[in-house]
Symmetry: C3
Subunit: 131 residues, 3 copies
């Protein structure tokens, strides 16, 4: 059962300009481990833009844009390079409140645009309490 | 169970030019209440473009692009600002025919592009007759 | 139950330049019947770019980007013009391995961008062995 979906598109050049103009923005949006990939290599602005798009899309899927802390939704990559959401604090609470037990996420970038798409799902066999 | 999905991307400048060239197009595509947000403020062209993208994406999800009337799929926003689909007439009938009981919708815009994504779902606990 | 999702965005001009620079790329990516639509008309570069985006999105949804052969995921259109995935070989095996019994796919293009979105699903009533 699908609880919510979210999509987001980001202008990479504009995102990069914001980061350059406001250096504190990077650490406000991302945790340290989000700024590197699964091999420990620092992410380029376009890949950070894609992770930012995932955070925005996730907030839409939860229907709670204003109530979530940026660091509580970490966008990481697993060993295969696939994106992975690690929820904590405000995001974890919003998931429990809405019975979200699984996240599906995908992202892509080309031609100066980054897009992300997420689906918040409650699995039939999942125990909501273990979300 | 997912019945169908649809995605659409719209060039905002081109959409705005079409609206300017053919003034009747706006009222042909949108009902009066679609042209304002949940606070009653008139939508800018970019936000109208996003609502248009939702209509196109919904038609793809129903697999019936040519058979739907534009006004029968209203794209509104709820009190929190989240998008909301109100189906009537031809769209309502297509939903009943395909057992669609729930719509999930999300939209985004940046860098002159508007995108929308929808999922048509039949909920396990939903009564198809009440679609 | 959703097994995986994938999204992809393609810069159509860059894709077209790659095809022009490396003529063998077209037949390496697409089967003969993928290069025409359901009416037998040869696809324009923008429509080929959209089909390429579907292949990339499908690989993400299966979580197996490197292990799939391009020809094993054919992107065709049914009689109504809706996109249709025909899986064989490596893609069929990845579907069986992950219990994927249904594909949902949608694509769109405008302003020089092509996007695709896919969901890999296991239907409640589907026999995984018949995937």
């Amino acid at each position: 059962m699908i609880i919510g979906i979210g999509v987001d598109i980001v202008d990479v050049a504009r995102f990069e300009q914001s980061l350059a103009r406001t250096p504190s923005m990077k650490s406000r949006l991302f945790t340290d481990r989000e700024c590197v990939d699964h091999k420990g290599i620092a992410l380029t602005p376009v890949r950070l833009a894609a992770r930012f798009a995932v955070k925005e899309a996730l907030a839409k899927a939860l229907g709670a844009p204003g109530d979530l802390a940026w660091h509580d939704c970490e966008v990481l990559t697993d060993d295969s390079g696939a994106p992975l959401i690690v929820a904590s604090g405000t995001v974890e609470q919003a998931c429990m409140f809405r019975d979200v037990t699984r996240w599906h996420v995908s992202m892509s970038h080309d031609a100066g645009m980054a897009i992300a798409y997420v689906i918040a799902e409650r699995g039939e066999d999942d125990d909501p309490a273990a979300a």
